[in-house]
């Protein structure tokens, strides 16, 4: 077994301290409007993947990864800022940025990779936004996790986060959550293939309905999640 594979398990584990368990990505606001069933929840996650997380986050991750492999800090920062620029909702933007900073800071304590260290410095000095997908790309490159696996890990972790939030909001039970994650596998694989090798100038996201509920979340008086 390769140590790279174990590194992938480590970063994908919900035990990894990046704070992603605090995010519902708008689901909490949506749950206040209407109780979604499992089918609707799966459709919602697929929309997230197909119209936000895939074409924007995964594309940025792929570009940041390639730049990290070439020790091109400037290129990583361009991908990082490009993703920051398309994230319309402040709460979501800030949460991603904090998680990315947490992730890269933690990995820098056990990896001596130079570009990771340079990127970590850029994040802590606020020369870059530290968006989670860019930070994950740099960490994966440092730990020699292949790019496609990095993208897959990112999308899968996103789905686990959404399923976990749905479970805590009472919208889904533990077995249904696992069935849903199983059913999402082909969607995850397809969206990674479509986006992880795309050039940065083809980065986009367009899911206004999701933007609206995420903005609604910002205005909730009573909430359990950061997003």
């Amino acid at each position: 077994m390769s140590t790279e594979f174990l590194s992938m398990l480590q970063l994908a584990d919900s035990f990894f301290p990046a704070g992603t368990y605090t995010m519902s990505n708008g689901l909490e606001a949506l749950a206040k409007r209407k109780k979604a069933d499992v089918k609707e929840l799966q459709e919602l996650i697929s929309t997230h993947l197909g119209r936000q997380v895939g074409p924007a986050d995964c594309c940025a991750l792929g570009n940041a990864y390639e730049c990290a492999k070439k020790s091109n800090l400037g290129g990583i920062l361009r991908a990082d800022w490009a993703l920051y620029a398309v994230k319309l909702v402040e709460e979501v933007r800030n949460a991603s940025s904090r998680s990315g900073a947490n992730l890269v800071r933690c990995v820098a304590t056990f990896s001596d990779d130079k570009i990771l260290s340079d990127y970590n410095n850029a994040v802590s000095e606020k020369r870059t936004s530290g968006m989670y997908p860019a930070a994950l790309a740099v960490a994966c490159a440092a730990l020699r996790i292949p790019k496609r696996e990095a993208g897959t890990m990112f999308l899968y972790s996103f789905c686990v986060g959404m399923a976990g939030a749905a479970l805590r909001l009472g919208a889904i039970d533990h077995v249904a959550a696992q069935k849903m994650l199983h059913a999402l596998r082909p969607t995850i694989a397809k969206i990674v293939e479509e986006n992880v090798n795309k050039p940065l100038d083809r980065l986009w996201q367009f899911a206004p309905g999701i933007d609206v509920v995420q903005m609604e979340h910002e205005r909730l008086d009573s909430k359990m999640f950061i997003t």
Partner: protein
Amino acid sequence: MAKRVPRVGIGGPVGSGKTMLIEQVVPALFSMGYKAGIISNDVVSKEDADRMRHNLATEKGMLAEDLVVGLATGGCPHTAVREDPSMNIAEVEEMESRHPELDLIIIESGGDNITTTFSPALADYFIYIVDVAGGDKYPRKRGLGIETCDLLVINKIDLAAHVGADLKVMERDAREVRGKNPFAFVNCRTGGGIDRVAGHIVRDVLFELPPKAMVG
């Protein structure tokens, strides 16, 4: 590199008086010249943070309004202060960089059970608070929070007679469970016993150093 601002974590069950303890301790420290910032981990609302901001900042002017911050924890209060305290640490560091004049930062955990502890990466000193109304069994029941905290606070002592709790039993059990580690009986509603809590913070967290504002 500037020294980091000392951090005090306050944990305890729902309704035990964590927020009221902060509302009493911050003015007590303020009267000695010490300035504190507050990060409040609410489980489902920002009510505690809003109340403290109103009472301590807006009404009393003891701190700037941006020095009381509410933080959502995804419904996982102990994860947020122990297993993955990264979001709290990020908030603490942002507050520290905005306000280097602070003498300490207080982090209030969301209400939780008796196994709550703080990550040493987040808090330098850990206060665990229980209340008499939960029954005089609390210290005897142990649990990581009660056993390992730096200071155990037992609140609502005025209710003891009304709920059939025996303070002598609680005192005996607290001594037995905690050995030489301190505990304090308080009444956060009236402020009774708060000087002891503030005294522990000044001695054990601030090492009796003068407030930064006095040093210049």
